[in-house]
Symmetry: C2
Subunit: 333 residues, 2 copies
């Protein structure tokens, strides 16, 4: 039962976990949970049992590290000539898979650096999504909200079109707190960016709505990835390029996933997942770390940078990284 | 006007500033104020203008570093064969000074690792103490309390015996808060362990009250420091050996010093002196340190140990060091 061709875009720098995640060593390479494997390795291991192939799309800067971490005959690595956002990265893989396996093959995109605690529930959700995809819906796995978070967009489910698969009424942006609470009361689901569909549906959607993207990806559907053709592709996220416009056309479905998902969006989320009480210490060194009298604080120690942060203000790490950029301290990024 | 023979016992490990202060690199070697000089160097520089000689008494472990930091023809370095507390260390120097300069020479002991912000006021206090010493009192400089601290012992001044010099009624131990407040209302002074006296008075006092110490120090009053003789000396602090019993005999005087003194007893005191607001960062590395959302916290980073501490609990560093000892982590001490 391996009907899926999984795609894992492994790009970005994950600035919200600086100084653990760095430009040369982004979040997906980190073993944040201390499991002895990176988030990328965990993602591949989670998908291998249900996938016929896995395609990792990454930048040339990270190609060697990806290949050092992952070696399975069913995993391919595609190298982007430059970062051009998620629609180009996912599209590159889908057009090639369509070329090789035909338009009816089922493709699905999954982030390289998220955590899923309940793998059984995850597999069940993917199988539901594959049913939705087989009925020619762009099917997303919507996460059952653990709380009325303001950090994620939401999806409104409508009528059931297959067991546990619902027509998606609309995608909505990250809400204010009171709106998030209303969404949760009304059964909305978190948009975790997991999309499953027929390869042909994605190609049709792009041909209709982003013909420049479709033409460019068609040229890139086999052989070496041509940098000149790549550089003509529009920079756009798959949510805006495909998911939202197709939802407006009634061609998107959603299936709930209650699988202990987290994007580990900041050190607060990491501390929660790690079960930290009081003070979280995250270090890449063998240094002896002692804290006295602190609570809800994270200490992140690396060779060249040390961050100590009130976990209630974990989102501010982005400002720290922005400041480093603005002041030209690129060696710390 | 250099009538003083200053003595600086430079021993101890200063565990309350761990991990900055270490067994091999105690507090007096540190440049805690970022002045470009260690506390020991600052102490010597403060005393040189008013001293005929300065004798530093230190352990063999620190001899080389002391000599590397201090080079002045008027400074001598005496090496203790092993640590035997402050009476032995100071006595060793005093008996040798008495041998060389006679019993009427004025000796004074000063800690190697304290801070004094107002040097002019300090010099005035030392000169007053020398007057008291010349009148054959064991004269201590009592610090005008900045607050009703419970971290110091106090001295009760009595009748004036010379300008700004008072008979010392008694020494009292570190008090509870309410008692400290009463002491401050009644004009008590902090005992900062600075003692000035005729060399002969110290010898007479020991001969009377600690004859074993007197006999041992007499044998050590010239030539190389004999380890066998040294090891017969009682382990006792000068406060208990000399100051308290002599106070009971009415032979101790005190002169107030309002000279911005601090023993930098913990990181709270260091942060206060350094004028830190919010978060104090004390590091021996070039590491980039960022803190977010913290207040009254100190971050102390060294090569092999990192401490992050709520400044309100700065006294607990001692417990951290005790724990390291108990668990056999001597390499971190």
């Amino acid at each position: 039962m391996r009907r899926l061709h999984a795609i894992i875009p492994a790009g970005g720098t994950g600035t919200r976990l600086w100084p653990l995640s760095r430009a040369d060593h982004p979040k997906f390479f980190l073993d944040l949970l201390g499991e002895g494997r990176s988030l990328l390795q965990a993602t591949v291991e989670r998908l291998l049992p249900i996938s016929e192939t896995i395609t990792i799309v990454t930048g040339s800067r990270h190609e060697d590290q990806v290949k050092a971490q992952i070696s399975d005959s069913r995993v391919r690595v595609l190298v982007e000539p430059s970062p051009r956002d998620s629609m180009a990265a996912i599209g590159l893989a889908v057009y090639r898979l369509a070329e090789e396996f035909g338009d009816d093959c089922i493709v699905g995109s999954f982030a390289a650096d998220h955590v899923i605690e309940d793998e059984q529930e995850f597999v069940a959700a993917v199988n539901n999504a594959i049913e939705g995809a087989a009925q020619n819906y762009l099917t997303t796995i919507g996460i059952t909200p653990a709380e009325p978070s303001t950090a994620f967009g939401y999806i409104e489910p409508g009528s059931e079109i297959a067991p546990s698969v619902y027509a998606a009424q609309r995608f909505v942006e990250k809400p204010e707190k009171d709106v998030a609470e209303e969404y949760c009361r009304n059964g909305f689901l978190w948009n975790a960016g997991m999309f499953v569909m027929r390869a042909g549906l994605l190609r049709e959607g792009l041909a209709q709505m982003l013909p420049q993207m479709d033409r460019g990806l068609a040229k890139l559907s086999s052989g070496p990835v041509d940098a000149a053709a790549w550089n003509t592709l529009p920079r756009i996220a798959i949510d805006y390029a495909l998911a939202e416009p197709m939802a407006a056309q009634g061609r998107v479905a959603v299936t709930p996933g209650n699988c202990g998902w987290s994007d580990i969006g900041d050190f607060k989320a990491l501390a929660d997942i790690a079960g930290v009480e009081g003070t979280g210490v995250f270090t890449r060194s063998k240094k002896h770390v002692v804290t006295v009298g602190l609570s809800d604080v994270a200490v992140i120690d690396t060779d060249d940078a040390l961050l100590v942060i009130d976990l209630h203000q974990a989102q501010k790490v982005k400002q720290v990284v922005d400041h480093l950029k603005e002041t030209g301290q690129d060696h710390l990024l």
